[in-house]
Symmetry: C2
């Protein structure tokens, strides 16, 4: 049976890394075989593309270039990792996917959604995540957390207004695709965040059991 | 006045580098201010993309990834170099452009032309070269010349059949766009090749003079 495709989304400092560990624990407790991967990245070539995308540079990076690099890495990741793993029956747990492109490039960079939607169809056909957990936090709170962590990458150097547009786009995605998206309040304490994630995963699992 | 956009195309070992020097001499003799650039590449970021594209790697590079990387670099090159230079009235002499994408990815990799045509419209709008010199040589003769030169890159490692499809695609492009393309027989001696290139440039110049 085809594996399931889980994605985690959210703005800077929302706690994706910590919560991915929690999700891995849930998958392991269920005895599900899975791969944990990320975008941009997930293969040696796609990680090379990630590096080009993230490293701060003097050169102005035009929005179309950024968008095409995102989808170039995604095409490779799908072809070499995501699709073969799902076909082999393994689950795929991916840190960011195309929802991030709509949020960051579409809303953050104000590119709009038509070009992204065209590229999504070109590259993904009708493949979409089965479950998307969108970790949500007020922008200032997230940036403060991210700022304590490390030197900012090219995206983290953006201004607050950029991240507000990104957050709003994630809210819209959660509303538009309620069948696969769960918005998680990540502004509360870690145990309370993980209780919400645990519920979302358990609900997803129950639905799968019902369909069997 | 807007500068003119010249592109040079051709398969491996066709003598692009040598003949670009000849074209630069012609431009300088006419007192034309120009930039000489190349694809993939032409800006620091686009040169990073070029490196990802050309270096031989164990990982299979899927055709869509290759195509999107080509256009990602092109978007950056257009935005940062080609369009501002043309607008400033300088000519742009570019070693390969979108015709190479039709030939190598469309025909060589058998991706077809629809996806490329969509990306071309997305990224270039209606910008096309004003003059394209397609240097043409039998595949075996070109590969022999290229082989004597250096270690093969990821494209040069392809088989003869691949390059035959590329060459045929260039012939088709020359037929389809006679108003901007000139097919140059590059299998003959260098002075004879350069006589053809000189004629093509002089004709182009005469047409420009007539339009003034």
């Amino acid at each position: 049976m085809q594996g399931k495709f889980l994605t985690i989304e959210g703005t800077e400092g929302v706690g994706k890394t910590t919560n991915i560990e929690f999700i891995k624990g849930w998958l392991e407790a269920k005895g599900i075989s899975y791969v944990n991967t990320r975008e941009p990245g997930g293969t040696p070539l796609a990680e090379g593309i990630r590096q080009l995308l993230l490293e701060p540079r003097d050169e102005i990076v035009c929005s179309e270039t950024e968008l095409l690099l995102m989808f170039a890495g995604r095409a490779q990741h799908l072809d070499q990792v995501i699709e073969p793993q799902l076909t082999a029956g393994n689950w795929v747990l991916c840190d960011r996917f195309t929802d991030a492109t709509y949020a960051y490039q579409g809303a953050g960079r104000k590119m709009g959604f038509d070009l992204i939607s065209n590229l999504e169809s070109m590259i993904q056909g009708d493949l979409r995540p089965d479950l998307t957990l969108i970790l949500d936090i007020p922008v200032e709170q997230g940036l403060q957390r991210a700022g304590e962590r490390s030197e900012p990458d090219r995206f983290e150097q953006e201004q607050t207004e950029f991240f507000k547009r990104v957050r709003e786009a994630y809210h819209n995605i959660a509303e538009q695709y309620p069948e696969r998206c769960v918005l998680i309040d990540a502004s509360v304490s870690l145990p309370l965040v993980q209780a919400q994630i645990g519920d979302a995963l358990d609900n997803f699992w129950s639905l799968l059991e019902e369909c069997r």
